[in-house]
Structure formats: C-alpha cells, structure tokens
Amino acid sequence: MELLVTMLANLLATDGALLGAGIAALTGLGAGIGMGIATGKAVEATARQPEAVGKIRTMLLLGLAFAETTAIYGLLVSILLIFVA
C-alpha cells in the first residue's frame, strides 16, 4: 500500500502536468454536447420554418461561438500545462 502511495506521489510529482492536461481536455465533452444540441435545435427550427434560415443561422453561429469558448479554454489550459509547466 505504501509503495502504491509513493508511486502515485512520484507520478504526480513528475507527470502531474501531463495528467492535468489530459483532464483539461475533458472540456470538449460538455462543449460537444452543447454544440450538438444547438445544431439539432437549429435544424428542427429550419425544418419548421424554412423562411427564417438567415436569422437562425446567425443565432446558431453566435451560440456555437459561445459554446466553443469553453472547449478553447480547456485546450489553452492543456497546451499551457504541456509546454509551459
């Protein structure tokens, strides 16, 4: 047991930054789900009211930009952890 703990401590001390980078990349999960829901709703709205395509597209792009931001934050954090820390 002690051996395992020391091994874990060693791992965290040497490769903790890489582990953190992997965890930070999980932000893609939430962003992907959110963007999928937004796109699906936009498709539904377009099917229901094809005349409003232009407005729906601008709104969809805005929403996607906001949802994408969190994924980009995660990516930045993991890049910083890999290359700077």
Partner: protein
C-alpha cells in the same frame, strides 16, 4: 513499416514545438520588445493598405452599372457587414459597419498569412487583447452616448459589472485560443510530415489539413468576432425599461384586497 511507428513515436522531434507556443522576441531595446507576431501584423497592415489603395485607384474609380467580378465581390463584402450592422445597431451602423469590416479583415488576413510561413499576427495575446479592447471601448462609449445617465442604472446590479468586464477577457482568449490551436496543430503536422518521407504524404497531408485548421478558423473567427461585437453593442444601446409603477400598485392593492378578504 516498422520504421513508420518508430518515426511517429520519435518524441524528441516535437521539442521544437515548445518554442512556437509563444512568440519569440526579435528586437529587444531595453524594456521595449518586438516579437515576430508584431512584425507580421505590420506586414499585414501594409499589404492591406496597398491592396486598398490599388482597389481604390483601379476598380472603384471605374465603377460600372454592369459590374465586374471584383466589383461584385466588393459590393457583397461591404453590404454584408453594413446590412448586419444596420439590423443590429440602428443609429450607429455607419460607425459599426466599417469597424466590424476592418476588424474582420485584419483577423482573416492576419491568420491567412500563416500560409506564407510567417507566424500569424493574431497568435499573440497582445494583438487579441487590443482588438477586444477596441470592442470594449465601442460598447461602452456607444452605450453611454445613447442612454446618457440612464446607463448607470445598468450598473445597479453588481453582476452586470462582472459581465461587462468579462467581455474583453473572453473575446481575447477565444480568438487567441482558436488561432493558437490551429497554428500548433499545423506545426505538428509539418513536423510529422518532415519525418515521414514516403507515400507522397508530405504533399497530400498538409494540403488536406490546411483548409481545416487555417482557412476555416480564419473565416469563422473573423465572422464570430464581428457578430459578437454587434451583439454586445446592440445590448448596450438598448434603452433600459422604465420602472412601471402601475403593476406594483395593483399587486399591492391585490394584496390588500386579499388581506381584507381574509380579515372579513
């Protein structure tokens, strides 16, 4: 084929990637530093100015009723930004249309210059922050110009202050993060391609991946920057709703009525 995986796993080749994350200083005079992104930025501005001058002297001088291809493109570009500015910011569209067009053009060309082997001008956190600060200034000057002192009622809720301060930060990191990630992925692809020299992959792989990570990002991010600017300005110049006292009085009277009924 044994060589293939060995070459892929040769991790020391990626060590050069570390120097490319942040721009390196080219000129250092005391505390005054100029990095390569700034130099690229000046090149982009110079090229854009020259292009604008050439277009002004050739195409726009000979403006025709039966348009040529370049004239069609210019008209579409300018009217696209002017229309969206007209829809979002009614009175200030003459200010916001040119600003969004200029910012979008700078972002787009600043990223696309990566194809000539230079470091993209936007892949520097200072450049992103400058653009975001311009947007921040536009939002608040226009907000105060439109609503005068009634704008201060917007700040009675302290959460609104945090929201407003987070706008430039989020715009900075969105732009910087997406451009930097595209650049890092393309650099990684170039390093991979250097080590794999068979199958004709060095010709095909970058040609397939460049549109994905450079072109797509350039257009999407410039469009997103422009439309986000317009949306925030639209929010800022909305006239705050005046306090309607009538419904409250009705509620109070309803409550009193209910109380009277209860007592009765």
């Amino acid at each position: 084929m044994e060589n293939f995986s060995a070459q892929l796993l040769a991790t020391d080749k990626f060590a050069g990637l570390k120097d490319k994350i942040f721009p390196s200083d080219v000129i250092v005079i005391g505390g005054f530093r100029i990095n390569d992104s700034v130099i690229t930025g000046f090149i982009v501005v110079f090229v854009l100015l020259i292009a604008a001058l050439i277009l002004r002297l050739t195409v726009i001088r000979h403006w025709k009723t039966t348009p040529s291809a370049i004239q069609m493109f210019l008209e579409w570009l300018v009217s696209f930004f002017d229309k969206s500015a007209d829809e979002m910011t009614e009175n200030y569209s003459k200010l916001m249309g040119p600003y969004t067009l200029g910012a979008a053009t700078y972002i787009c060309c600043g990223v696309l210059i990566e194809m000539f082997g230079l470091r993209p001008a936007i892949a520097d956190i200072g450049a992103c922050f400058a653009l975001a600060l311009c947007t921040f200034l536009f939002i608040h000057t226009l907000g105060f110009a439109k609503n005068k002192f009634r704008r201060f009622t917007h700040y009675l809720n302290p959460i609104n202050i945090v929201t407003d301060l987070s706008v430039p930060v989020s715009m900075t990191f969105r732009l910087f993060g997406s451009i930097l990630s595209g650049m890092v992925i393309m650099d990684m692809v170039y390093i991979l391609v250097e080590s794999i020299w068979y199958f004709g992959l060095p010709l095909v792989l970058p040609a397939v991946l460049t549109p994905l990570f450079t072109l797509f990002h350039a257009f999407i991010q410039s469009y997103v920057f422009a439309s986000l600017t317009l949306t925030f300005v639209q929010e800022a110049i909305e006239t705050p709703p005046r306090r309607q006292k009538k419904p409250k009085k009705q509620k109070v009277s309803d409550g009193e009525a209910a109380g009277k009924q209860a007592t009765a």
